[in-house]
């Protein structure tokens, strides 16, 4: 042990140093900043003015920020339902003993490795294009002229279009997590159930779902973590800086602190920090609720 002490310190120092510089120190500083009014982001601490919870109440009273939180909630909730159901469905199919399993799995995961900017451009400029778009072509050929005429990127449809495109890119990752969870369940359970006369649907309901609790938890947590950072897609789908249909808290923060937006009346970095704190609290809350609603230690398998 004593001989190893030097080695432990030597081996750990670079990683722990990076972690402290990039995560630990900034997180602590952001929490502190959220309670201060800070005119310039480079201002020394001496020029910060303590304002208590003023940043948070200010955010709560800013309608654009409220809209951005509402959008985030919609993305998280509706997107979550769409992504989780599709991911679970695909995972069940993939693990049901079909042929070409690896190929199917690889193609479904493919969108996840593509740059979000490239993927969003494909959707925006091709699928939703009002001139040569995929949706337009398909609906015209099917004779559904009403559907073909829909302007997918106008204000009424923009949010739904954004959400759909985003979900398409996210399904693969969550499918893999579900699939690996299902594969860990011993096939004995399913065989025993089949012998007892349970059909596939009942097997899914009474064996797969209860045993996947932990996996659900992982998936919901990961989904929340990625949702909170929702940024690129909004930026690509919005035509103006403060687009109420697509704005999310990250976009709002960027606009306030770094943006070239002209709607800014005052710069206050404390406000940006407060947004960060708020979003982190959301993630922790989701994590906590998941852990309490789904205790998976009562099942051993």
């Amino acid at each position: 042990m004593k001989r190893n002490k030097g080695m432990i310190i030597l081996f750990l120092t670079p990683a722990v140093f990076m972690f402290s510089v990039i995560f630990l120190y900034p997180i602590i500083r952001t929490v502190i900043m959220s309670f201060f009014k800070i005119d310039g982001i480079t201002d020394p601490v001496a020029r910060w003015q303590f304002t208590g919870l003023a940043n948070f109440t200010k955010l709560a009273n800013t309608s654009l920020f409220r809209i951005s939180m509402w959008n985030l909630l919609r993305i998280w909730f509706f997107g979550g339902i769409i992504v989780m159901s599709l991911a679970l469905l695909f995972a069940v199919i993939i693990t049901s003993g079909i042929r070409f399993k690896s190929f199917f799995r690889a193609v479904i995961y493919l969108p996840n490795i593509v740059s979000a900017v490239a993927l969003a451009t494909m959707w925006l400029q091709y699928v939703y294009s009002p001139k040569f778009g995929l949706l337009k072509t398909v609906f015209t050929n099917l004779g559904l002229t009403d559907l073909a005429k829909i302007q997918w990127l106008d204000n009424d449809h923009k949010f739904a279009s954004l959400l759909l495109a985003y979900c398409f890119g996210m399904v693969g990752y969550h499918m893999l997590i579900f699939a690996s969870g299902i594969e860990r369940i011993s096939s004995d359970y399913f065989e025993a159930a089949t012998l007892d006369g349970a059909n596939k649907l009942n097997q899914f309901r009474y064996i797969t779902v209860p045993l996947l609790k932990g996996v659900f938890k992982t998936n919901i947590t990961m989904w929340s973590v990625t949702s909170v950072g929702f940024f690129v897609w909004s930026q690509l789908f919005s035509t103006v800086t403060a687009d109420t249909q697509t704005i999310t808290p990250m976009v709002y923060m960027y606009m306030q602190i770094f943006g070239a937006g002209n709607s800014i009346t005052e710069r206050n970095s404390g406000l940006g920090a407060a947004i960060g704190v708020l979003l982190s609290v959301c993630v922790v809350a989701v994590f906590w609720i998941c852990n309490h609603l789904m205790k998976d230690d009562d099942l051993e398998f």
Partner: protein, 291 residues
């Protein structure tokens, strides 16, 4: 991850028929994916006129879209930037994280659990939580005004952001390696530090390759950090560069060139994926994330 069965089962039509709805759903989804990517690929070889009249490739292959995007719109520049950032960051990440992961996996010492918890929690921290103080420090030090220091800063940030994930991933990998190797090395008089570099690190190669692919894809596609910290146009990585390029191409009306740029950006990760998809998929479910 269990090895797939190598032999082909004879086709059992009754079983396949029962699975038909499953096949149908998956095929629909996959067809859509292929149409999406395929159309963009074909469009990148067509003229803008052909794209608008829905007659892709009517006048043959137009490689000049790629030439134009690569040279005129300087995709070459942002491509080179991203390549430099990704390669350097991925290499240094292994040099920094592998030793730490090894020590965390092998030795019991005060603070071990604490560091692990810290790293795992860091994976769930939103970027907004860290970006303001970092920007404050960096801006007040004047790092952003110099191309060289800005480049170093970007690489430093890419490394830092991926340290927790890489360390935790490699840690699970090291803890699965047998202790017998180090014990044998110790008996032969090899000091533990040397044993790590000469014996354990090469043995962890599969894990290192997987995590490096992930880091590469992450850094290649990274957007937010680069948007804020890359202060000059010459420093932009591919995602940020593509974004501004798309915006300008929409106004010049060069749609074919735009799709060519999209394909160029997409290609490196796609080629990696074609050759290594099994490794990547095993990595998603194997490391870091525990069910």
């Amino acid at each position: 991850m269990a090895r797939e069965k190598k032999y082909r089962e004879p086709v059992n039509w009754k079983k396949e028929l029962r699975l038909a709805p499953g096949y149908l759903i998956i095929l629909l989804w996959i067809t859509f994916t292929f149409v999406l990517l395929g159309w963009v690929l074909l469009a990148s070889f067509s003229t803008t006129k052909e794209i608008f009249s829905n007659k892709l490739l009517a006048s043959g292959l137009h490689f000049e879209n790629y030439v134009k995007a690569w040279i005129n719109s300087d995709v070459a520049g942002i491509f080179r930037n991203s390549l430099i950032y990704s390669v350097i960051s991925c290499t240094l990440l292994i040099v920094i994280c592998a030793p730490a992961a090894y020590v965390l996996a092998r030795f019991i010492f005060p603070g071990n659990k604490l560091i692990q918890t810290g790293f795992v929690s860091a994976m769930g921290v939103p970027v907004v939580m860290i970006v303001l103080p970092l920007f404050g420090i960096v801006a007040s030090m004047g790092i952003l005004n110099n191309v060289m220091s800005n480049t170093v800063l970007l690489i430093f940030l890419y490394i830092g952001i991926n340290v927790p994930y890489t360390t935790i991933f490699l840690m699970t990998f090291f803890s699965n390696l047998s202790r017998a190797f180090e014990e044998a090395a110790a008996i032969d008089g090899c000091p533990p530090t040397k044993a790590f570099w000469l014996i354990m690190l090469p043995m962890a190669q599969p894990g290192i390759i997987t995590v490096t692919i992930f880091n590469f894809i992450n850094i290649w596609n990274e957007y937010f950090i680069s948007l804020i910290f890359a202060n000059s146009d010459n420093l932009r990585p591919i995602a940020v560069g593509l974004y501004s390029m798309i915006n300008s191409m929409k106004y010049t009306g060069d749609w074919a060139g735009m799709f060519a740029a999209v394909v160029i950006v997409f290609l490196p990760t796609f080629i990696l994926y074609i050759f290594l998809s099994e490794k990547i998929i095993a990595g998603v479910t194997g490391g870091g994330v525990k069910g």
